[in-house]
Subunit: 183 residues, 2 copies
DNA sequence: AGCAGAATGTAGCGAGTGCTACAAGCGACA
DNA sequence: TGTCGCTTGTAGCACTCGCTACATTCTGCT
């Protein structure tokens, strides 16, 4: 059992790499297996079903994203909300995170189509992101939770705009918010 | 040729209905054909390739969305930015628009994977949405373009949050912005 | 050593994918 | 009426999909 667990984790790590590079919704068993150095036969053997595999893979990826965020920006407090938002937007546009956000868009699309596994994963990722954002806000910031909620919503919008090559519009929006000292 | 053109438009309308109900990225030729009362054979005959078909379908859907937006909220000026954003968020959450936004998430996901057809369509949709938003801003609003950019980015974020059942967080963010008279 | 159970390879099933070859029907026009 | 080109049906190709049946190897325990 322990052996199998280790094996599964190794498989998940390898498959996560493949998904980060090539997308989630277009990933089928045989390429995933190849990336993990095994066969579709064995993936079904270990995970039972593709749905279960995807579910575990999503948890694995969510954990990886959370870890990357916290290591990239440890729990120091940002001086202002403005600084907090802008440093996160910059971070999120780093090539290191591109793969994660490609997967994120796949999760959102599947959730919108009513896939419960993806919706649950998306929800969990959002909650984690929100808590992390809140922890980075300045100590004296009032209404921390809702401030973080506004930041998160804006960041999500920015990520979407980036995906359709309209990042400049998000930049304009961000600049407008900051110009007016609205955040 | 004219006959063929009419035929194509009818096909596009029928296929658009199917896509709005069942999603874009999972749509294959045979179900699309069935929805349009024809065969995969004929779809390829009329459009040449699935890619071209999708491209035309996206244009058709974008036009439909734009029309729905303008008929739902004609070009009256909103009294305040706050009112403008909140009426649009309400509108966008109407069941009538659910199908369009499911397709929108598919477009975003495909764009993020590097599909140029989808990226182009997404870009066009964003530009149209932005122009429409700008036209609805109060006349005395300064910095109209960037104001609209900020609104659009926030609305996109809200739509994403809705997709993963986290709409309440977007509501919190919106409330925070309005509380502080930031917009 | 022998045996049970876990792990793995080979081959394939039935369904679905985009797309095509071939032929027949259809209309308009000579 | 005959013919030509646009339109359509039938059948199928080569491929991928998730998944399974069957057989074999490997591993750990007694």
């Amino acid at each position: 059992m322990t052996k199998a667990k280790l094996n599964r984790d190794a498989l998940l790590a390898a498959m996560a790499g493949h998904v980060l590079a090539h997308g989630l919704n277009t990933a089928s068993l045989r390429p995933l297996a190849k990336a993990a150095g095994t066969s579709d036969r064995m993936l079904i053997y270990h995970f039972g079903t593709k749905d279960k595999l995807v579910s575990e893979l999503l948890q694995f990826l969510a954990a990886g994203l959370a870890e990357r965020l916290t290591t990239a920006l440890p729990q120091e407090k940002a001086p202002t909300v403005e600084a907090c938002v802008s440093e996160i937007v910059t971070l999120v546009r780093t090539p290191d995170f591109a793969g994660y956000f490609r997967v994120w868009h796949d999760i959102v699309a599947s959730s919108a189509q009513g896939q419960p596994v993806h919706a649950a994963a998306g929800n969990a990722i959002i909650d984690g992101f929100l808590a992390w954002l809140e922890s980075r806000l300045p100590d004296d910031q009032p209404d921390r939770r809702r401030t973080a909620a506004a930041m998160l919503t804006f960041i999500e919008g920015t990520v979407v705009m980036d995906a359709v090559d309209s990042g400049a519009i998000a930049d304009d929006g961000l600049a407008w918010l900051f110009d007016k000292q609205r955040m």
